[in-house]
Amino acid sequence: MTFSPDLEARFARLLESYPPGRRRSALIPMLMYAQDEVGAVTGEVVEEVARRCGVTPLQVDEVVSYYSMLHRQPQGKYHVQVCTNISCLLRGGDKLYEQASRKLGIGHKETTADGRFSLEEVECIGACSWAPAIQVNYDFHHDMTPEKLDKLLASLEKIQ
């Protein structure tokens, strides 16, 4: 399995970042960056990353099952993550989650039929002082309101 030239370059740099004999250290970053490009941690990705890091596929599976951001199935093109932890909860994060769920017609960790959106109720994303906050893929949206959420979802719906 090969990746894009940019990702291959990144992997080459990664493998040089750790002490000799410590290739396994590249495992989690490699899975994250591969997932970003491939869309999910597929069986093929597991095999390939295992080979490159010098571990067994089972050892990679153990890692994949532990970390909440690694997933085996593709998520929506826009993965909407609504924080409902305390700082967000106190400013209406739970209501935003319900609103997003209603609007998109999906629940926690579900994806719309057209694959455009997926939804996740997430734990603290580190935006407590600008709560309530959500993340769409890796982008933060701070100081959210029901109106801003509607607007955001509508704009993502329109992107070709």
């Binding site: 250290s25 989690i28 532990y66 690694l70 600008w130």
Partner: protein
């Protein structure tokens, strides 16, 4: 400040370059005292660098508050093994959002702090372990590292000193537990983030089994100032044994939430009213979580105190990670206790049974309570289950779940009693329970 307006009451030491044009660039950093701490450190013996940090009374900003200089002094400099520097940028404690800003607006300050630590313990490689959600910071830090290398502030023979030091970013993948130092090191080695038994501590056997200095981002960011201006100058900013300033993350029911850099020992009520503009909607203060979700809650009447490690400990809570969560008079404490426990039950790594089982049962008990199905005996049971977790786990996550829970039950028992016998939650309309 890019996310919230600064407060005139701030004492800006670590955040002083925030808001400058191109504040993340090396040029801006150098034009505002950048790398002067390192240049001074180059003229000192390693033990003198550590002495300066000890003198500063800088204590770990991740939550534990351990004296940073003392931590560094535990690294056996003469060990034949390589030594490592690891910055904990796995900022995940609910209520905490400060390290993000330090990396986004002043990445070179973090690099310089790590470099000074490297000089002190003779390390030649450092890692910044960043939570997976902060992907944009990896781009910013990688750029800063590249820029510093190109100009001779990192890499081989730094500034002609003969000293070599490389820094690498390393992404996490979503796990609160990896903010715990030994779990972080497991994760850095490509494994599940479960804690290691200690001793040995990371100073002796850390990254790759080698001596390691592992500190929070904010802790490293304080080091350039300490070396530039002297440990005594930093210490003088705070209270005895609690040196310097710290970044407080004010959130919840205040008029002006935000991240503010204030001297250690700043009064909590003043922080809420004068820095944060008071409780929102003209309401009264009910309670404050003073240092992230792991810290026992303070009732409004307990909040007239200086925000430093020792004062908070005396008040039965902790300064923690600087996440100050303010709750108004209408907040349902059962709901807050439940939300906190849902978090810990989700994040428990499952390695230690008291934590894995305890968080799950507490979540169930609190959920039943909030839904109106609790019994009087459950109130005592919640406290008992939580107390039986204390001190019985490899890492502090079990304690972090238990301590706030005990405080909610003890300090707001009347609210738990008001939820008994299927009565609707008195703080909000029925049917608005948090989904689990």
């Amino acid at each position: 400040m890019p996310y919230n307006d600064p407060s005139p009451l701030e004492v800006r030491i670590l955040t002083r370059r925030f808001g400058l044009p191109d504040s993340a660039s090396l040029d801006t950093y150098l034009a505002h005292d950048g790398f002067q701490g390192f240049e001074r450190a180059l003229k000192l013996k390693p033990e003198e660098i550590i002495e300066e940090v000890k003198l500063s009374h800088l204590r770990g900003r991740g939550g534990a508050g351990f004296p940073a200089g003392l931590k560094w002094s535990f690294v056996p400099r003469s060990s034949p093994k390589p030594k490592y520097i690891v910055a904990n940028a796995d900022e995940s404690e609910p209520g905490t959002c400060k390290d993000r800003l330090l990396m986004e607006y002043d990445p070179h300050q973090l690099l310089e702090g790590m470099l000074i630590a490297a000089l002190a313990v003779d390390a030649h490689a450092g890692y910044i372990y960043i939570r997976g959600e902060y992907r944009y910071l990896i781009e910013i830090l990688d750029r800063a590292i590249e820029e510093a290398r190109a100009r001779g502030y990192l890499g081989r023979n730094i500034l002609g000193s003969g000293f070599d030091f490389e820094v690498y970013t390393h992404t996490g993948a979503g796990a609160y537990e990896c903010g715990e130092e030994s779990a972080l090191l497991e994760s850095l080695e490509g494994k599940r983030g479960v804690p290691r038994i200690r001793p040995p501590f990371p100073a002796v056997a850390g990254a790759f089994g080698c001596p390691t200095v592992l500190n929070n981002v904010e802790t490293f960011c304080a080091v350039p100032y300490i070396l530039r201006e002297g440990g005594a100058a930093f210490a003088a900013l705070g209270t005895p044994k609690n040196g310097g300033t710290r970044l407080f993350c004010l959130s919840g029911h205040v008029n002006r939430p935000g991240v503010y850099e204030l001297p250690m020992g700043f009064n909590l009520l003043r922080m809420i009213h004068e820095v944060g503009g008071g409780v929102w909607k003209g309401k009264k203060l009910k309670a404050v979580i003073p240092g992230g979700s792991s810290c026992p809650v303070l009732k409004a009447g307990e909040c007239d105190l200086p925000m430093d490690y020792d004062s908070l400990a005396r008040a039965g809570s902790m300064l923690g990670s600087g996440g100050v969560v303010v709750m108004d008079e209408d907040t349902c404490m059962v709901k807050v206790a439940l939300r906190i426990m849902r978090f810990y039950a989700h994040e428990s790594c499952g390695w230690c049974i008291p934590c894995r089982e305890g968080t799950m049962w507490l979540r169930k008990l609190l959920q039943r309570f909030h839904d109106g199905g609790g019994t009087r005996a459950d109130i005592g049971l919640i406290g008992d289950v939580a107390k039986s977790m204390l001190g019985r786990t490899f890492c502090p996550l079990g304690d972090a779940a238990a301590m706030p829970t005990i405080s909610f039950v003890e300090k707001f028992r009347e609210e738990f009693e008001a939820h008994l016998d299927g009565r609707p939650c008195p703080c909000e309309r029925a049917g608005e329970a948090v989904a689990v």
